[in-house]
Subunit: 304 residues, 2 copies
């Protein structure tokens, strides 16, 4: 690790930092999601979003915003927007024509509870809502920031980001990918939105090109580390701890970091990516990267 | 009709006006859609969007932009964005868990050609791309216009717009709706994006509140007229002319204007809505509403 231990936030400090932010996210999501939506649609949207998940992406937005001393109101909307994109992707990913999964965050998946058609529509509506949240009519967020946030989110979510990664994933079942191609898939599928979260947080303030490059590298390393750890947990954790079906990747013959590198190799990879992320933060020369640093540790050390 | 005949564009003039605009839309979509998207995803996106459809929504954007002497570059992006939202909604609507339709624009639907999972992802990616097109990094479109366009499109597409209307539609199969509830469903399902197209065109220029209200009323009337005519054509046209399965609504026991008002009643309704749309244009006191007027006639007089 390149970071002196003095710079490591402990779990307690991370908790104290994140708790009020997460409370704001929950309150905002509860106020904004599925309200006034017709019939079952609003219920399905709220079920998909509220009271669940680690909220890693919102925390990355807030931490990056903090590192550039950015605007809190913009960060809150950006945090909610990335979480909506993440939530919609899970709803669609769980559908029978995709992963056909019935358990998510310890609860029945949206289509099990509301039916496939409403799950499909809820996902679609959540994506639209993400962009609606980023463009409030009367609020002190500069139009240039609103447009920039939309641009970053659209790219992270689209065919050259998350949706593109999912398409590669689909095409990879039963196919032997080498590490480079596996990394490319995950760079898009999970990495793009995690890196996008960091960039959106930075877009809530001002940042020079060199520091932005460093934050992007941080986001990229954390994004990939997240997926490596996901692959490890899919093998080592049980479904109850994960809140979703464990052992799924192996069962569906999907290539993973564990199948490619072995368990120890995957763990070493995760540590190496953590080191890369921390090194990028050092390189950024941003003053206040404590939260970003702590989140990188959290991503690698998590047990679910 | 409140419009003097002298103000009616004939079909030839409408064609001369729309032809170069449609050529620009096709060229732009071909340049922007599915390029650099991985594996089959890009092909599915392009199949869903290119070389098909009446492009009514883009034409409404251009016509409204013209009425406020707005910026052509912004209108082109807005026109493509609304068409992408429309295209994605068709892809998802055709999926087996929704309408389960195999024919669209005279071709196999996207999921028939590419499989359900890629169709789902292509729709998702098209929605993201719509917002990406609205927020170009280097182009002379003011950030305030970009943000405004995103806001309008997100609202038109989301749970209080198109997706909401589709959810009501889902919940209405086999249910006896009265005219007010049928209108509410269509106001969201089809009307929101058509009205949104008009508002987005107007957002490419400047417009006072009274004229904007009038344009909204125009968009609302045209949107509803479109649906009434759709219901009529579902009964009177054959599948080959429509390019999609005719008689579908009656077969699936969906409430329609024809089932509610009868064929003559529905036709009278369409004419009344056309009159409302034209009256709203008169009220707007905008100088250049010829194209909007012609499009209203086209919506009501079309045979597919």
């Amino acid at each position: 690790m390149t970071a002196p231990d003095a710079l490591r936030w402990d779990a307690q400090r991370l908790g104290a930092w994140s708790e009020p932010l997460l409370a704001r996210v929950e309150a905002a999501l509860s106020q904004w999601v599925g309200v006034d939506a017709p019939v079952l649609l609003g219920d399905a949207m709220r079920y998909a979003v509220l009271d669940g998940g680690k909220r890693l992406r919102p925390l990355l937005v807030f931490a990056a915003c903090e590192s550039v001393d950015g605007q809190a109101e913009a960060a809150l909307r950006a945090a909610c927007a990335v979480e909506l994109i993440h939530a919609y992707s899970l709803v669609h990913d769980d559908l029978p024509c995709m992963d056909n999964d019935v358990l998510r965050r310890g609860k029945p998946t949206v289509h099990v509870k509301f039916g496939e058609a409403d799950a499909l529509l809820a996902g679609d509506a959540l994506q639209a809502l993400a962009f609606e949240l980023l463009t409030p009519e009367r609020e002190g967020i500069a139009p240039a920031v609103q447009a920039h946030l939309c641009r970053l989110l659209a790219r992270a979510a689209g065919s050259q980001g998350m949706a593109g990664g999912q398409a590669i994933d689909l095409a990879s079942v039963g196919v032997a990918l080498d590490e480079a191609r596996l990394r490319e898939m995950h760079r898009l599928k999970t990495g793009a939105l995690l890196q996008g979260s960091v960039e959106m947080g930075a877009a809530c303030g001002s940042i020079d090109a060199q520091a932005l490059d460093a934050l992007r590298a941080y986001g990229s390393a954390v994004g990939l580390a997240f997926q490596v750890v996901d692959d490890i947990l899919d093998v080592t954790a049980d479904s109850q701890t994960l809140g979703k079906t464990a052992g799924k990747d192996a069962a569906s013959d999907k290539p993973t970091y564990v199948s490619l590198l072995g368990l120890d190799g995957a763990r070493a990879q995760a540590r190496a990516l953590l080191a890369q992320a921390l090194e990028a933060l050092d390189r950024s020369e941003l003053a206040d990267t404590g939260a970003l640093r702590a989140l990188a540790y959290m991503v690698v050390d998590r047990d679910r």
